[in-house]
Symmetry: C2
Subunit: 445 residues, 2 copies
């Protein structure tokens, strides 16, 4: 009986587990510090009050409950002992025959950790809820403020990072101001809100063709978003943002500029790249340990094109499925030569507001409403494992028809019970999910 | 132009505001510390992972946006100056011609505030999320624990208070263990979970007839809930609950035993009853100030039956509508003799698990599935102002068909950004909503 331990229940870990479900002579233990799998590509919709957390997340446990050989445990991984074939968690040691690390990535502030307080990122449900709270609360503050300067500050929103997440956030804020909130206030005019998208590089969405990038800028501008390129952020504080010598006074800054891989790789002494991703062999194993694999955003796989694969859901899913097949073959047919992993590029898409998107797949380029319909179709299709697919479509249909945001709640963060206080552990499993757009990294640095 | 200030956007405040919408020569300012109105009768569904917060809450601002004479502000009320006709808030003073206080109620631990840490109540969305987190996390802890004693402790759930909220919570936990979670775990059998409902009085649901109360006990028992009457709690700590000399070891205690009115009444020097409700005149005004009213759970109205009205949504809604009519009449037709408020009793209902309820209206008594259908109908009907009515029905239908809980997410509470830290203010507006079952107060004391 081979014991496969998977750390992280994102797209890579979940697909690896599913591929090993009910395989004879294999048992699987999946450890994640959250109880839920998160459909991260739609996280910005939760942040922008279009969807509720439950619409894009589901308990890992119930997603895998049909497989009797899979055991799901909620917990944190503290250390890895690769030669000893075991991992240490906060609830005891677990021995493994195969280990798959799929701990994902988190935000990187490029050495300016002090910015995080003023510019939250968007990688988890609680961050999404926090971003929502800040954006909605800014309008409330503006409404009740009696100073024109303060109102202006509260009605200025800055999004840092011109990758897909930044574009989606900026577009959604622009749209919310122009349509959803337009009639709800008495002292302010939400349509006068100023939304600025800052990109350090020379253009936004660099992974798309220049033509589609320009189209995205135009679409953003019709939603009232100002796109500033060549605008590296030099300072963020409670009062605003510095772009070189210019000061933007704002109460709301959102960070979508860069990510770094989970610390688990580096802490174990594995060879990592500049953003902490573990360098893997063509079969996704780590040098020296053919039974230890790293998949998803945490891994740096360069054997196909010479460049790292994009940190997206399709790449993570393909890697997870590849590893399941590899282990299945070895357990049932014995060890042989391993086929290297091959990534199939399915193209890329980004949405801008309520009814526009850009899609690029090889030489095919689409923009506008038809691209948005395709974007919607693909995202709803990939929500397959969720009970909420139909509900999500209905909610979107509703928002679309009525220009409303359903989940527009400000829920206070303050809660004084800490039965299980947040633990400061150096090594933790991450929400190993996808859509980390590392490609704008260079430009921001 | 008469300026009506309403404090609290619960059932009373919201209905008062709606009744004054677009009335000539009246302008309304509604202040609430939350941005949302909460449909509190369904809050236990959020706590039990059946619904998402957005399903039972909606922004007050958007619910009232069609009335151009109504101004909604999010903020906290600090002090009241009744003779000076103004209130002080955290964003400045507001003068009024009429004032309606509808600040609702919160939990009361009868002098044992130290119990709150171990036994959260259920009055707000963040409390509901916290209760959900605790209940779901207990199963996770049990699953990963290696000690039989600890597993047993994690699989024991105690609900304190045998009113409708306590019955609903206990029934929902019982049902969740028996059906929803039954197949999701490997090390534990959730159907073996022990759910204990503690009631200090001699029977649960004392506001219902004895016959229906007995039926509720039977229905709870089929869901695996043990009902202990004459069982006053004497101690609650991290390890469990003391009932007289008996110790129940448990990691999860939920408080549904009693409420007290918002502190705003008492702090202003108004005459209040034992649980802090303001004693009001037959027209809901306070003695000495005919332009100041208290409505909903915050008021104690005894002129009709000699006893206080129940702290329910219908009572609050009727009072809100009554006050709107009274003010409308005075502003348009001039001051005359005021008709006293009359409460129309619509009966009462409580639900037990997924398909049973009890309903009592005068001499009409119903129980079982037919009562549950009626309960469902009434609650969906009253969700009128929400965009989510259809979604709620669909979600319930889904849960009903598949025995699943859609919103089964554990979202960590830990979040280190406190741009707007929780403020310790003695006087605050409450989530003025209904279904505070004060009637079990005596029995718990």
């Amino acid at each position: 009986m081979a014991h496969v331990v998977i750390v992280g229940g994102g797209f890579a870990g979940l697909n690896a587990a599913k591929g090993l479900g009910d395989v004879p002579d294999v048992r699987v233990t999946l450890v994640d510090r959250n109880n839920h799998h998160l459909f991260q590509p739609l996280l910005y919709q939760v942040a922008m009050a279009g969807l509720s957390p439950a619409d894009i997340a589901a308990p890992i446990r119930s997603m895998l409950s049909r497989y009797s050989n899979i055991h799901v445990l909620q917990g944190e991984v503290r250390t890895l002992d690769l030669p000893g074939r075991k991992i240490a968690t906060d609830f005891g040691d677990i021995e493994f025959d195969y280990l798959i690390l799929a701990c994902g990535a988190r935000h990187s502030y490029f050495g300016h950790e002090e910015w995080e307080e003023f510019a939250p990122g968007l990688k988890s449900l609680e961050q999404a809820t926090e971003v929502r709270r800040r954006v909605l609360f800014a309008y409330e503050e503006a409404e009740r403020s009696r100073s024109t300067d303060e109102r202006k500050r509260y009605l200025t929103f800055v999004v840092v990072g011109g990758g897909p997440t930044g574009v989606e956030l900026a577009g959604a804020i622009g749209e919310m101001s122009r349509f959803t909130l337009a009639k709800d206030f008495r002292n302010i005019d939400p349509t006068q809100a100023r939304v600025i998208l800052l990109e350090a590089g020379s253009r936004i969405l660099p992974m798309f063709s220049e033509q589609l990038g320009k189209r995205a800028v135009r679409d953003l501008e019709t939603l009232g978003v100002q796109v500033w390129v060549n605008s590296a952020v030099t300072k963020i504080d409670a009062d605003g943002v510095d772009v070189k010598t210019e000061r933007i006074r704002t109460a709301t800054v959102l960070w979508a500029a860069g990510v770094e891989a989970s610390k688990l790789g580096r802490a174990t002494g594995l060879s990592v790249d500049r953003v902490g991703r573990v360098m893997v062999e063509p079969d996704l194993s780590v040098p020296g340990f053919s039974n230890v694999f790293v998949a998803g955003d945490q891994s740096c796989y360069t054997h196909q094109t010479g460049k790292p694969l994009p940190g997206t859901a399709p790449a993570a899913m393909q890697q997870g499925r590849y590893l399941a097949k590899l282990i299945r073959t070895e357990v049932t047919a014995g060890t042989g030569k391993r086929e290297p992993f091959r990534f199939t590029d399915k193209g890329q898409m980004a949405t801008i507001g309520r009814s526009r998107a850009i899609v690029e797949f090889g030489k095919i380029k689409m923009a506008g409403f038809s691209a948005w319909v395709l974007w919607l179709f693909v995202h709803v299709y990939y929500l397959t494992s969720f009970r909420s697919r139909l509900l999500v479509v209905m909610q979107w249909a509703w928002s679309y028809l009525w220009f409303r945001r359903g989940a527009r709640l400000i829920i206070p963060k303050a809660w004084r019970f800490y039965e299980h206080p947040p633990q400061e552990t150096p090594i933790t499993t991450q929400d190993a999910a996808a859509s980390d757009r590392t490609s704008s990294l260079d430009r921001v640095r």
